[in-house]
């Protein structure tokens, strides 16, 4: 039997089909746990967040709207929200500098092996948009977007005024957005 599509798998998962649930978890667990790690840093808390993300997905499957994005993105949005909640409840651990450097490296070079291997046009263009941002904007955007850090936390991490942190986040995201919009209007 061919692999089920993401949407079909989600439906069977939501209905409590054991095989589908196991397949669904296997399909997304490394992405969900990976994002949780990037955000909360602590491995135990990241596992809690990842487990909660699957439970929330299971309960909220009816709210999944395929027009708004893939199941993959939806899972990550759920994970982000839970990770940020968890960080607000417990004091957030500092960003792991090594992990962050690796993350920044991965996205800052459009010529990295991963970028070269990227077959998805949208993802390649996202990487390119990030690679062309000034490093301080890219780092602020990654700290907010992939590490769940608030503008206030970023101003502390980078030793910059709060207003500067906000501007970097805003400008960085706007540039990424407009690169996506350009692609949209090309088609």
């Amino acid at each position: 039997m061919p692999a089920a599509s993401d949407d079909t798998l989600l439906a069977s998962f939501a209905l409590g089909d054991r095989d589908a649930a196991a397949a669904f978890i296997r399909r997304y667990q490394s992405r969900v746990y990976g994002l949780a790690r990037s955000m909360v840093v602590d491995p135990d808390l990241a596992e809690d967040v990842a487990q909660e993300a699957f439970l929330r997905a299971w309960r909220n499957a009816p709210s999944y709207d395929s027009r708004r994005g893939s199941v993959h993105t939806w899972m990550l949005v759920i994970t982000r929200s839970l990770a940020i909640d968890a960080m607000r409840l417990r004091r957030a651990q500092p960003v792991d500098p090594e992990m962050f450097a690796a993350l920044d490296d991965r996205v800052s070079t459009a010529r990295s092996p991963e970028a070269a291997a990227e077959t998805n046009d949208e993802m390649r263009e996202l990487r390119e948009a990030l690679a062309t941002l000034p490093p301080e904007q890219r780092q602020a955007l990654l700290l907010a977007g992939l590490c769940g850090r608030t503008a206030a936390e970023i101003s502390e991490i980078e030793s910059i005024p709060l207003g500067t942190a906000k501007t970097r986040i805003r400008t960085g995201l706007a540039k990424v957005r407009s690169s996506m919009a350009r692609r949209g209007s090309d088609q």
């Binding site: 487990q51 395929s66 993105t73």
Partner: protein, 218 residues
Amino acid sequence: MTCAELEGLAAELALGTVSGAERAGALDHLAGCVACRELVADLAQAADRLLLLAPAAEPPPGFESKVLARMGVAVPSRHSHRPRRRRVLAGVAAAALVAAMSAVGATWLSGGTAPAPEIRTALASDANGHWTCRAVVYGDKPTWLVVSLDRTDGLSAAFTVDALGVGRDTPVPVGSFSIDQGHGSLAIPVGLAAEDLRSVRVFDAGGRLRYEMTFPVT
């Protein structure tokens, strides 16, 4: 919060990093301001896509079974005999099913312990796989019917649906739906018990019968 203040916060809202009173103020403004809502939704597309760049990492061993246990889904066992009819769900168009589920309620989503709902499916498809129309019926008071059509030709068109009951000659009108780029579905309660449904018919805008899905006799 004013529109200008909201605008200054839009990126952080899209990234999900605003909390507390500031978030409450922003949500309050968004509830009453379409323009700001659209701005945040627009930025959220970019913010959500960023998440795909997060590095993957394998969770600790046992992760999958912990989640399954918390879901209340039975631990795998050679001796367990799951009701066979659950299997049919694998083929159901997810969007339609998911749309219908929200109205059915959570009671029968509780997995292993709840009795499997009675589900019947019927299919119409052509030999070349250019289109497939599915009808799925389940539930009781109300009985839910989900009709989904997937065509590979990218057609956008409107269809109407009716249903025939066992021992009845008069079709029951069900509703209408449209497909966009080949895909579309309808999830709707019908005034027939699931076991009394004989077939579901789909007509094009000109009233011609295009698909007829006959349920296997129970």
